[in-house]
Assembly symmetry: C3
Homo-oligomer: 120 residues x 3
């Protein structure tokens, strides 16, 4: 039995490059965790703001467009979901993003009223 | 005294149909939990991607528009907030969405500087 | 050594006025926590819906445009990040927003594969 597979529920939340969403969705489906929610966001990591030129004016790009992916999982170990996202989102260049795991205390599927891991 | 009403703070997070937002807001207000944040998102659940036709071309719809609702609550039991969302968002058809509950460790109201359950 | 600086990872999540984002980003950078993600959201707090007039028609504004700011931190105490957001977002008028802190169980930096506090 795989180690995190103890009926606990977790939210895997990732900030990734928008053009890596297709690869991430594919990697998640292949891992058996196809359910996900996507939000358009913008953000910055640890690198300093980038100075650019537009029609001779210098301006600072300090927020970059990213996509947030949220996957709540119960039967699949969160670490497998993290690995799937990593494999789909990795380029090796700065700006590839981050993946975080948060605890979830309860889950309900609205159509059926199911609760707990079965609802995820 | 109601069971979750022990001063702890929780985030109730739901993914629902956009056209159910009005009913969900009404149900939340009636439960005494009117505060909420809404985000436009897209996502998919456990069902396979749907094939559709547009001008003779077949294409796959794999992400559906949804609305994310976040309600942080302290004095109202999270389970009552979950029930309110369920009652407002339910149609019985696939795609009704999910509700998750996450723990919150601290809260601050920016205008007053209040912290803890009073800040929620 | 500062008090929350024990290697634990936290998500500081704030709902603020859109026109306070620049001040909040500046305050966060000055606190040593420049990394953040921004989402356009709408919401309501505890005040009743506002009635307004448009071309003679009365209508109710019940959701106000806000910005959600997410900062995951490990080496900087979450309370310092909360204070920075408060200082940047405060006007003293209703609608200034809220700041919440959530626990985070794991973190991965996609480019390097680093995990834990070093990944944040
Ligand atoms: N600590 C954080 N809190 C909130 N959001 C973050 C954090 N770190 C990164 N992000 C989000 O992830 C996006 C990509 O971050 P990024 O990959 O540039 O991180 P980084 O630490 O600078 O790593 P790299 O050196 O590989 O660029 C950011 O634009 C932001 O939206
Ligand atoms: N496990 C999950 N993680 C993240 N988001 C999810 C998850 N499950 C559902 N969602 C979000 O909720 C939306 C609606 O999901 P949906 O109701 O189709 O779930 P389902 O499990 O397929 O249930 P049903 O059989 O009733 O359709 C999705 O489009 C997605 O945004
Ligand atoms: N409990 C909550 N759950 C989710 N979102 C909230 C909550 N409280 C506030 N928000 C978000 O923060 C935004 C600003 O809230 P607001 O500052 O009006 O809160 P308030 O409690 O009414 O305080 P104030 O009396 O200072 O106006 C809302 O529009 C909403 O997006
Ligand atoms: Mg970076
Ligand atoms: Mg479905
Ligand atoms: Mg208010």
């Amino acid at each position: 039995m795989s180690k995190n597979n103890t009926g606990e529920i977790q939210l895997v939340m990732a900030y990734i490059r928008p053009d890596k969403l297709t690869d991430v969705k594919k990697a998640l489906a292949e891992t058996g965790a196809p359910s996900l929610t996507v939000t358009n966001v913008s953000g910055r990591g640890s690198q300093p703001a980038k100075k650019s030129q537009y029609r001779g004016e210098e301006y600072t790009v300090d927020l970059h467009e990213k996509v947030k992916v949220e996957c709540v999982v119960a039967d699949i170990p969160a670490e497998d979901v993290v690995s799937a996202i990593e494999s789909g989102a990795h380029t090796g260049e700065p700006g590839d993003g981050k993946v975080f795991v948060l605890p979830v205390e309860a889950a309900t599927q609205i159509r059926t009223g199911k609760t707990g891991p079965d609802a995820v």
